[in-house]
Amino acid sequence: MCSIDGTLLDFKNLDRLAAGDTGIHRLDPRAKVVVTLVFVVCVVSCGKYELAALLPFFLFPVFMVTLADIPALYLAKKIAVIIPFAVMVGMFNPLLDRQAVLHVGALGISGGWVSFASIVVRAILTVSSALVLVAVTGFPAICAALERMGMPQPFAVQLLFLYRYIFVLTEEGAQVSRARELRTFGGRGRGIRVYGSMIGHLLLRTWMRAERIHMAMLARGFSGAFHTRRQFCFGTRETAFVLGWSLFFITARLVPVAHLLGSLVTGIL
């Protein structure tokens, strides 16, 4: 019953993190968007058996989380919700791909298990980077950054409108759903008939709300663009941030850091 409220609360919590004021938060949103995209592409471009090559990439989320004061446990919980999907799809790899590619002592590990582990690690990395991006930037700033980088204006306006009303309508949906929950007994009344008129009413109310917003817009002289006071400044800090991390990602992608480290240590021992 509280699942919609729970989701909404979760949503608001993540949104609230963007109000932080750390060095990372103050960076120009474009820098953070670009770095995150480079990160995702580099992670995804690793071959499916290159498990070790993925590990250095953990440095980025770990650094961002610590420097931007994001509660790590909260983030870990959010990631844990997504992982079962990756596990479900990756599960078939160990079954279908049984050729041994890795030997630890007498134990041969099949390619399927390696690629399964790599799918899970990829999922953790990409999911955490997306969540970190929102937590340190905030949705409106991401939209503004994307618009500056060439996203068409109508789509940017659409994203901002959606963002403004998502909380309002989700709360309304939660109310409606709670009301139905309180009136249904033993699963009766949760069927399609009630659902249809319930969602239909929600849709009608949404439609009327849009008409009211339109009139309010006209009254205030809305011209199709949101004006914000936000100033963009892509300075030395941003350049250093983008170049530094991109360099690290590309190096981590090209040089097998983990392998080198391992041979160094096993060589010494």
Partner: protein
Amino acid sequence: MHMADALLSPAVGGTMWAVSAGAIAYSSAKVRKELDDRKVPLMGVLGAFLFAAQMINFTIPATGSSGHLGGGLLLAMLLGPYAAFLTISSVLMVQALFFADGGLLALGCNIFNMGFIPAFLVYPLIYTRVAGSAPGRKRLVAATMISAIIGLQLGPLCVVLETVFSGISALPFSTFALLMQPIHLAIGVVEGVVTVVIVTFVHAARPEIIRGAMGARPLGRRPFRAVLVSVFAVAILTGGVLSGFASKNPDGLEWAIAKVTGAEALQGTEQGLHAAMTALQKKTAFLPDYGFKKDGNRGGRNATDSLGTSLSGVVGGVLTLAIVFLSGFLLKRRRPTA
């Protein structure tokens, strides 16, 4: 049905990004040209409505499981293809960022599977043709059901194709398709029923909403064909360029890795097979080369994996992770005092 970053190769992800970005740019231009400023708040609020409605479940009779609205088709019926496409895309973007449904690179795929297909393929090619200009109740129901089912067959089919082309999952096409399609046939039927119920309710309460949505858009053949042609041109172009990268780069990368580690990776063993595969790839120009793991590329990797390098790999992996998290921990410790 969200496609995930973890299963995606950069070539496939990049191609779908280019396609979706092109479709967004085109739809934005169209919506701007329509100059109907009533649609601006309507799109925003309907996006939020879709988001909320997807969270509300209902019980599916006789199965005990529960379902919810997908809504792509419903939005296309209410807003027309261009505005609906933008609205669905915006919802998917919020889901990708806040709930990590899918991921950032997979966003292109998801926008295509769940936005482009209902708005630009199913709605104009199937729904409007079956329903006609002034449909009665029966025609409306039939058109909605057929469109919902076809839309929910095409979407998962694209998920399967994208996954197979990416080659990260070992699932072969036929197995994956056999897993996905029948499930989505049922989901499509449910989606159709739900959409019909909602549309008939709205039609009874405020018929002008449904009727207005139908009359407002004289969807000509020509501009629509232009969309399709340009989208596929973009797809083929980027697919070609990116797969060129994908088939060239890993070889270069492996060469670099071999040089750095000092391991002599057996490049291009099985010359014949490898050459044939590359030729085939150039012809199809869509497959990144990770898919063919048993030919030259991977053969080289397997051959170098002697006991020593594996052990060092495992030790190194553990060490790297330890260093990463330790540095994060130290940073955290140092900050309050600093």
